[in-house]
Symmetry: C2
Subunit: 281 residues, 2 copies
């Protein structure tokens, strides 16, 4: 059955009120659209755990810097609607910018400590924009559970911490990264890659698996692991590394690798910036 498509907050709340009154548990999968298999797995997870599944599709201007790809970010509402329906979503909520931001946004949510490293060090205001829009979406949908991909590790850490710190009534669920057969993490931005860049892009995952291998073989010195991973990335002429870091749960760089440490990378292929991460130990 096709999901319901809502384009306004008002109609969304109206539809959800009746689901809620029927005692249904509600799952939310917040996305920026251009859905791929990674999103599909998020919807699958919500479908398996909740009675009523909402997929939101909103390319959030607040999380893009002026020099970033907001205007050319891929939009494919019809295809996204169909994918959502095939995975069993009950409602697709695709608000317009004017509905989400009817006036100047003056209120911001921030988790500074977790936002200042990794991507946050290079994308000024990005995670403030992410946290703020996610909180808005959670307030609109009021889901029992909300689903986020592990690929966006720092985003996930920030949203988890925000939910805990603000005592949100929503449980934050994480879903593993889905990869192409050559290891490239699924991302809506992969479609920006030309053939040469696409062929080169799995080097990111190879650098991450190298870091994990070394850590699991007993190497504890983060700088040695980082250097080995950077060697792999630098051997690929298409790749331009923005960062490769080993971080703890609070997204702080570590000197020594311990349980829970992730390796995380941001790498440009031409103008396209890809991120990925792996649990080392």
């Amino acid at each position: 059955m096709n999901p319901v498509l809502t384009k306004t907050i008002q109609e969304t709340r109206y539809r959800l009120a009746s689901a809620r009154q029927g005692g249904k548990s509600i799952g939310l999968v917040p996305t920026m659209g251009a859905l791929h298999m990674g999103h599909a797995r998020l919807i699958d997870a919500a479908r398996s755990e909740c009675d009523f599944v909402v997929v939101s599709i909103f390319v959030n201007p607040l999380q893009f810097a002026p020099n970033e790809d907001y205007s050319r970010y891929p939009r494919a509402l019809q295809a996204d609607f169909e994918v959502s329906g095939r995975r069993g979503a009950d409602l697709v909520f695709a608000p317009g910018v004017d509905d989400m931001y009817p006036e100047e946004q003056l209120t911001f949510v921030d988790v500074p400590k977790l936002s200042d490293t990794l991507c946050g060090a290079f994308r000024q205001g990005h995670f403030r924009g992410v946290a703020t829009v996610v909180l808005k979406l959670l307030n609109i949908v009021q889901p029992d559970r909300a689903y986020f991909g592990e690929k966006d590790m720092q985003q996930l850490a920030i949203i988890r911490r925000m939910a805990r710190d603000l005592r949100l009534p929503t449980a934050i669920a994480a879903v593993p990264t889905v990869r192409e057969t050559d290891g490239l993490a699924m991302s809506s931005r992969n479609q920006y890659l030309d053939a040469t860049q696409r062929q080169a892009a799995p080097v990111v995952y190879r650098s991450l698996t190298k870091a994990r291998e070394l850590a699991q073989a007993g190497e504890q010195d983060a700088s040695i692991i980082q250097a080995a991973a950077l060697d792999i990335l630098k051997a690929e002429p298409q790749a331009r590394v923005q960062y490769f870091e080993l971080v703890d749960d609070d997204m702080q760089p570590v000197r020594a690798v311990a349980k829970g440490v992730h390796a995380a990378a941001a790498v440009f292929f031409g103008p396209t910036r890809l991120i990925d991460n792996i649990l080392c130990l």
Copy 2:
């Protein structure tokens, strides 16, 4: 009938779930305790509009600067519990600091534009602390309506804007300031005043009513009104003015008085800082 007293978030949510399942509308009156007639009117308003009334009592460390009066802020839980009961509250929620902040608070909510003027210019981080704790309380109680006093005008403006910007499902209700017969606005901090200071304190309200009189008589120049009000305040030797401003809805100082403009003042009497405000037009 006595209200229920809860001291943990978990028990509070449990009690509220049964009220909610019974279809009751929920009203929240967030306070820092030391309840006076101003608070009583907030509870009265909630009682008249909601089926189930919660009074929260929490002196929030996050909104006090190190040099401020957090440790000596008046605490009177037993009396507050009784007042709440007499006004018809169903539940008094008095969490401990460890329950509200079980770990370092890393997430903050901020409305910078509305927070940078008036009290915010002198109390660094204050409104960030207020907005953050109010959002936590709203997330814990999930009320249909939450009640705030007009005496704390800037706080009210910030919380209203936060609720709108974040699409909170809670309506923010404002309740008029309650005054002593000599005009002094009710405040938990009035009990800090000695007899001489207490006698002098109504000068704040007199300066505000002067501003309103001039505005209503047709004076549009904010600086003339401000000067007249400051003359009144400076004639009182017990009073030390921190600010006297005329501001619009966004708490921005105005040059010309127009509809909706408030006069607002912060004045010290000895070490005690009192605030008050009035709608001029």
